[in-house]
């Protein structure tokens, strides 16, 4: 057992209101620069939809992630030798058109325009060339199902859904969508790291953040193509790759990453997960239907004395172990088993998790009136026994979060529903009856767990949502520099301007 620590985030999708505050917070801090205008390290997609960059999940086109062939795991992008031959031109690299051309408006014209009979206008101009452009698309062009005939219809996750279900999803009374906020998943088996010919991308040992060393980056761009989530971006101005850094400077000073901190719906949780690095090769290399079980197996119980001993053996401090014990991520991922990795079939072993959304119940038309497609008598137990009455097909969620396995999604949704039913009895009816207890038991939860889940979902305080250990940066500086020398310096000393080379 090789115990290591990871900072993980959990997204509670039921709480996401799609306000894009996370995206804007991230953009303002990190990507509001020349060459980075088109990047959204954090973006929020409407699902069903094609996402950003368009159709990023279509790996037949973009060739991201890993594939298992004859029991061996290989990059879908290239073999090592192929990688070197593709240095000069990488056919799988997304082009700017796959994202969008960043634009602004020619505001100067509003002030400098000569006197005319008509009001001057601010024409849209490209942020790359400065020339006037016709804006054809942008980030979230398909927000809230806008243009769903082009976007939602071509969602790769509709794969495997019967044609009639697909068509029903376009009917007004069945329309449904949810939001999917995405950042870099800081994978345990990152394809970007494996694809980089220069070896410029690495995973930080202490918290698992995947970073690009821009001093080593030579713009071969393999990382951009290899990441199945398309969360590494190429800065066309500096000629270096960039990606989400999980706001590590904030985490090191005890603050949550900007996206999580600014979240209006408070959907994001963060905490330490302990995992067994020895199990990664196995967990990444099992058949699709065993991926989630193997992934959960790899996450270790921070209360287990054997795990604690092994963690200490690996130099993990008491405060990190304690932090792992209080981690909300551990509760959602391992204890309650309701948080799932996004697209586990890409086999990069993501460390950011999603709690799938409960969707509204299907309505049917009866004498031209709409009514919920559920029996009146067990109204309260709505979907519990009839998850298929939900508007969002289970198969769709399964394609997103469990490599197509509907059983996993059903288990999670039943847990969420059971807690809802139980708490409604408790707070609305004033007492819990045997039938809601039975529902809870059927979903595999105890009453204590249900109350914990309810509290963590609806009423968590800031310090319960974000549990950060002390990074002890002062000690790591000691390891590299004489503290007395460092005393006279500011920050990390002199760092060169990130200026494009000639």
């Amino acid at each position: 057992m090789d115990v290591r620590t990871h900072m993980s985030m959990v997204f509670h999708l039921d709480k996401c209101i799609g306000c894009h505050t996370c995206s804007v917070a991230c953009k303002n801090i990190w990507t509001d620069r020349k060459g980075a205008e088109y990047m959204w390290w954090n973006n929020v997609e409407t699902r069903p939809g094609t996402g950003y960059p368009t159709q990023w999940e279509n790996q037949e086109h973009f060739r991201g992630g890993w594939e298992m062939k004859k029991g061996k795991l290989n990059l879908k992008l290239h073999t090592r030798l192929e990688g070197l031959f593709k240095l000069f031109y990488n056919p799988s690299l997304p082009g700017l058109r796959d994202y969008y051309e960043p634009f602004t408006f020619d505001y100067k014209n509003l002030f400098n325009s000569p006197k005319k009979d008509v009001q001057p206008i601010a024409e849209p101009i490209s942020m790359i060339t400065g020339d006037p452009i016709d804006i054809e698309t942008g980030p979230n062009w398909d927000d809230d199902l806008g243009g769903s005939n082009i976007y939602a219809k071509n969602d790769p996750n509709l794969e495997g859904l019967p044609q009639e279900v697909r068509e029903q999803m376009n009917e007004l009374e069945r329309l449904v969508f949810n939001y999917l906020p995405r950042i870099c998943n800081h994978c345990l088996n990152p394809a970007c790291v494996a694809a980089c010919p220069s070896g410029a991308i690495y995973k930080r040992d202490e918290d698992g953040v995947v970073l690009v060393n821009e001093n080593d980056c030579r713009a071969w761009r393999m990382c951009v193509a290899a990441c199945p989530y398309k969360k590494v971006y190429y800065n066309w101005n500096t000629g270096k790759s960039e990606k989400c850094i999980l706001c590590f400077p904030r985490m090191e000073t005890g603050q949550a990453p900007a996206c999580a901190h600014s979240c209006v719906g408070r959907i994001r949780y963060m905490g330490v997960l302990l995992y067994d690095a020895d199990q990664i090769p196995h967990a990444a290399n099992v058949p699709d239907d065993e991926l989630i079980a193997a992934h959960r197996e790899m996450i270790l119980d921070p209360f287990d004395p054997k795990v604690i001993a092994a963690a200490k053996e690996n130099g993990i401090g008491d405060d990190w172990i304690e932090s792992a014990q209080n981690s909300p991520a551990y509760k959602f991922v391992k204890e309650w088993e309701i948080a799932l990795p996004l697209h586990p079939e890409f086999r990069t072993m993501v460390m950011m998790y999603y709690i799938p959304p409960l969707s509204p119940v299907v309505s049917v038309t009866e004498r031209s009136l709409f009514r919920l497609d559920l029996m009146q008598e067990d109204y309260d137990f709505e979907l519990f026994d009839r998850l298929d009455a939900a508007r969002l097909p289970i198969k769709y969620l399964a394609n997103l979060f469990s490599a197509g396995d509907e059983g996993t999604i059903r288990t999670v949704l039943r847990k969420l529903l059971a807690v809802r039913i139980y708490m409604r009895r408790k707070t609305v009816h004033g007492k819990v009856d045997s039938i809601s207890r039975k529902t809870l038991a059927e979903a595999g939860l105890t009453e204590e767990q249900a109350i914990d889940m309810y509290k963590m979902t609806t009423l968590p305080k800031m310090e319960e949502r974000f549990v950060f250990p002390n990074y002890h940066r002062e000690m790591s500086i000691e390891a590299m520099l004489d503290p007395l020398t460092h005393k006279g310096e500011v920050g990390l000393g002199y760092i060169q301007q990130p200026k494009r080379g000639e």
């Binding site: 000069f88 082009g95 010919p197 995973k203 713009a219 071969w220 060169q496």
Partner: protein, 227 residues
Amino acid sequence: MDWNLFFFVVFPYISLTLFVVVTTYRLIYRPFTQSSLSSQLLERRQLYWGSIPFHHGVVWILLLHLLALVFPKALLLWNAVPLRLYLLEISGFALGLWALVGVVVLLWRRITVPYIQAVTTRMDIVVLILTLVSMITGVLTASLYRFGSTWFTGVFTPYLWSVFLFQPRPELVISLPWIIQLHLINNFALLAIFPFSRLVHILSWPLDYLIRPWQLVVGVRDRKATK
């Protein structure tokens, strides 16, 4: 002023000094500025027709030049059989033409595509023009003054070694046709601007990618050492 002395003794030493000193400085102290500065994100169709022919052509051409410089005898032995000589000459000529086509496409792309103009510096144009001159004079030399792979070893190999060993013998190249002389001078010019241009990316050979482990983990502190 003796132009021959300038072009075949002074200028080579100026460019070699710049190449060695400034490149070393840049590799060590300015690592951020090293990048292939790919523009594939912005424009890919013309890049495909330019970058692939140019790079795959020029890499082999450079290797053949290096071979003639380091192992002249081996090259002469290979050329001793006429069939092998023709094979080498024809493939070298074809590779040169291929690279020439590539560099023309790249220059055209850089001048005409607005997205590429947005990331073009004056040095980029200088590099492309010098490369174009190098390709044209090289291809002309190969077609007008045949069997370069053989006479190179008698002319350029001793001349270049004489320069490297600080006993320059300009007399070896003074009487060459002007196209070949231009080829030589132009390539010393390329060496001179090498450290000041995007050409430094030539020194990035990510060959360790073939053997390194897939995953890289870096800790602020050595975890095993601080146990």
